[in-house]
């Protein structure tokens, strides 16, 4: 075995196995506490107000509620996201580390975008009422 290396079995597989089991246990436990909602049967004639999309798309709904042209901002950012490894953004990190200083711009941009998506989702989820007006959540 080369210096610094250890066999994957058991050193790599053990933490993977433990984390998998813990997640399954958490899911099994939480599913007892959080029942899946079921509203009344779908009726195309009865439109709820507000109408909200699935929670993972709410940030886009919130974004286009300001201007429908903001969808082009999302479309413009998508290729940047996809081609991240090919962008001239500095040399790859030499070793495993969080927030490598060689790519500070990417780190800041990624965190800012993640924060924006989270903020838009929370606003749409909790602060939008009838006619998509801003309301207090409680």
């Amino acid at each position: 075995m080369k210096r610094g290396y250890v066999k994957s079995s058991p050193h790599f597989f053990r933490p993977v196995k433990v984390s998998m089991l813990l997640l399954v246990a958490a899911l099994i436990g939480l599913a007892w506490l959080i029942p899946a909602p079921l509203q009344e049967q779908a009726d195309i004639a009865r439109v709820p107000n507000p109408v909200k999309s699935a929670w993972f798309l709410l940030w886009i709904q919130e974004l286009v509620s300001y201007s429908k042209y903001l969808i082009y901002l999302v479309l413009a950012l998508t290729p940047l996201f996809l081609f991240l490894p090919w962008l001239p953004i500095g040399t790859p990190a030499a070793k495993a580390t969080w927030f490598p200083k060689e790519q500070r711009l990417v780190t800041v941009t990624a965190l800012a975008l993640a924060a924006a998506v989270l903020a838009l989702t929370l606003v749409a989820l909790f602060f939008r009422g009838p006619n998509w007006q801003l309301v207090a959540p409680f």
């Binding site: 610094g4 599913a31 079921l38 109408v51 999309s53 993972f56 991240l84 495993a96």
Partner: protein, 206 residues
């Protein structure tokens, strides 16, 4: 056999310092675990679900009221789907913030991006299936968002040829949700794990 196959998918040896839990938090493996829970619970739900506008909602009611553990099974499936999406997003963010998407891991970055998009699409196609008010209108709103995209109208016609919640649309969402998208996720996940092996680890290590 499964154990041997899993071992073959990953490198035989890894750098000890890369095993630091706080580098990865096992987020990718946990996302895949959620996918496996989704597949298992989804397969059981198939025994009761009927993909027609008239029968879908009553089949969910039957599952929840008359089938032992049916209500719990549906809750577990829904919860696992939320975990799957959140974990795959966090995994993607981790890959960016540790610089692990840089060369020579660019192919795995692309398969990971495809997996993220498929996970969102999988969640979206599953949203309609219970055919309650939440399902119908959330899907309808999603389709309005699709309409704002270039070629969105064409895409909408492919997905919902007869309107959200109508027979053809529900059938298409059902087939996409239970067969096409999970199949693609499984294939791409295998490629993703294989590339981890080819890249000799999950993190920049040189």
């Amino acid at each position: 056999m499964i154990k041997d196959f899993a071992r073959h998918l990953f490198p035989r040896a890894v750098l000890q310092r890369d095993l630091t839990f706080t580098y990865t938090f096992c987020l990718g493996g946990l996302a895949f675990t959620s996918f496996l829970v989704l597949a298992a619970t989804g397969a059981l739900l198939l025994f009761y679900y009927q993909p027609t506008p008239a029968a879908a909602y009553p089949s969910i009611l039957l599952l929840e009221s008359s089938v032992y553990g049916g209500k719990y099974l549906r809750s577990l499936h829904r919860l696992a789907s939320h975990f799957f999406l959140v974990l795959i997003v966090l995994h993607t963010l981790r890959v960016i913030l540790t610089g692990a998407c840089a060369k020579p891991r660019e192919l795995n970055w692309l398969t990971g991006c495809a997996l993220l998009m498929l996970a969102v699409f999988e969640g979206y196609t599953g949203y309609l299936l219970p055919m309650d008010q939440l399902a119908l209108w959330a899907t309808q709103t999603g389709m309005e968002l699709v309409n704002t995209l270039p070629f969105g109208a064409a895409l909408r016609t492919v997905l919902v040829p007869d309107g959200v919640g109508e027979p053809m649309s529900l059938l298409r969402f059902y087939v996409l949700h239970i067969l096409v998208v999970p199949g693609a996720v499984l294939l791409l996940s295998s490629l993703h794990f294989y590339r981890v092996r080819k890249n000799k680890g999950v993190l920049p290590y040189l």
